[in-house]
């Protein structure tokens, strides 16, 4: 001991300085926590969750666009009624619709146009004069306006013989239902993936605790509370969760960007048109990327919270 004491103060200071440059090592060795497999599981889960979210958002955006397109116009149909001149009835219906509040434009299809609409079914030479062909009037709704179609329907049936109003409600309902199912399905898939992540983390935490049992014991002997031990595990699993989440999330974002890019330029023509027809001109925008970032945070937090819960539960059972 005297030998150590005799050591010059200068030497000691240098040693302490050299030492001071190092931080505290984690109490749980990184390698002892089933790290890589868990990171992979979390990464895959985040990736799939992000893809699901992206798909749901795309379907919702497309559905709302279709819905908007469909509700932007309604059709008045005027059927010929015996003893009434259909042209007069059409004119009256047009006049009625034109002054109706919220209507931007009214355009009746002429006889020739009606004939052209029927041409694919009846052939070019059909003599429509002899057939009771109904006439259509397209009513465009002013942007942002929500006309009272029930009132319009009522006025039409009262004042125009053979008139009926089709506000495409059936289509709108179907699209809304489809979008709803897509969102519900997506939500269900997300919930399942979250549950799978929670279970994987539980198993991984239990494994890590079993491997690190001697360390947990030593921590107990040195006066550590359960809370301290749980914190140590939680910190590790938060780091693992974040790592996996970032890998999966960034991969998903890269895929979104790549698909967007491919649709913009590389394929050009046909593929883009096809996609555009189906989904409109949508892409995973800012909101989509924000959702992926939120998912990364969520999955990392769930990972940390699950491990804390598991550690606390396990510590309860050991003295």
């Amino acid at each position: 001991m005297t030998v150590q004491m005799a050591e010059s103060g200068e030497q000691r200071v240098t040693r302490m300085q050299r030492f001071a440059s190092r931080g505290d090592a984690p109490i749980l060795p990184k390698s002892s926590i089933a790290g890589r497999a868990l990171v992979a599981v979390v990464a895959i889960m985040t990736f799939l969750a992000a893809l699901t979210t992206g798909a749901v958002m795309l379907v919702r955006a497309a559905a709302s666009e279709w819905q908007a397109d469909v509700t932007r116009e309604v059709t008045i149909q005027v059927r010929p009624v015996d003893g009434r001149d259909i042209e007069d009835e059409v004119k009256r219906a047009v006049a009625l619709a034109r002054v109706f509040p919220g209507v931007a434009e009214v355009r009746p299809y002429s006889k020739e146009e009606s004939a052209r609409l029927l041409e694919p079914w009846l052939g070019a030479g059909a003599r429509l004069d002899e057939l009771p062909v109904p006439r259509l009037i397209v009513v465009r709704v002013a942007p942002g306006a929500a006309p009272d179609f029930a009132q319009l329907r009522k006025s039409l049936s009262e004042q125009v013989a053979g008139a009926s109003l089709d506000d495409h409600r059936a289509w709108v309902d179907r699209i809304a239902a489809m979008a709803g199912v897509a969102v519900l399905g997506g939500g269900l898939v997300l919930a399942l993936m979250l549950a799978a992540t929670v279970l994987s983390v539980m198993f991984a935490t239990r494994g890590a605790m079993a491997i690190n049992r001697p360390i947990v014991e030593v921590l107990h002997f040195t006066g550590a509370t359960d809370g301290f031990i749980a914190n140590e595990f939680q910190r590790h699993f938060l780091a693992l969760g974040l790592k996996g989440g970032v890998i999966g999330g960034v991969a998903a974002m890269a895929l979104f960007a790549l698909v967007g890019l491919a649709l913009e330029g590389l394929f050009g023509g046909a593929a883009r048109d096809q996609f555009g027809l189906l989904f409109g001109r949508h892409s995973i925008g800012f909101l989509g990327y924000a959702a992926v970032v939120a998912e990364i945070a969520l999955i990392a937090l769930v990972t940390a919270a699950t491990s804390r819960y598991t550690v606390n539960r396990t510590l309860q059972t050991i003295e």
Binding site: R15, P214, L219, G223, T225
Partner: protein, 219 residues
Amino acid sequence: MVRFENVGLRYGLGPEVLRDLTFRIEPHSFQFLTGPSGAGKTSLLRLMFMSLKPTRGLISMFDREVGTLDKNALAMLRRRIGIVFQDFRLLDHLTTYENVALPLRVMGMDEASYRGEVMELLEWVGLGDRIDALPPVLSGGEKQRAAIARAVIGRPQLLLADEPTGNVDPMLAERLLRLFVELYKSGTSVVIATHDIALMNQYNARRLVLHEGRLHNYE
């Protein structure tokens, strides 16, 4: 400081390994705990360290009855006790410095606030040049000293040591004993479990002798 009254301990349904233990450890005292192998020295130390619960009787530590305390309160009490295990129980992935500093870290202290203190203690036990070494490369004696340093870094009021000289040569054993006596003189109560007669003969102190599960007191 430590009070045992009619304490008995059995493992599972086996026979009682400790019977009718009634004794006290006074503040600022030094004692050896001895007895043949298998007499229950380690079990008694574990009872004092509150890592085992007695099957009967009453144990009070620092004037608090152990049976009534929850896990957090036990952890707080353990911080007032330093323990040296027979097998050291150093964490292999932490350096000597980090192992010794562990009790302070566990208390939530900032590394900068205890660095000087830990370095000083490591110098004192002769490990000043081994701060960065991992336990697997330390010799038996070095491990022993690191384990003792870890036990005393938190300035415990009670120090329990299980065969602290079991793995070292007589020279080092003597040095370690001097270290324990120093601690005792600075106010810590020390209990050393050993069956090393030579060691006990070096220092005149109270002896608690365990024999067939019962305790005999030789002042």
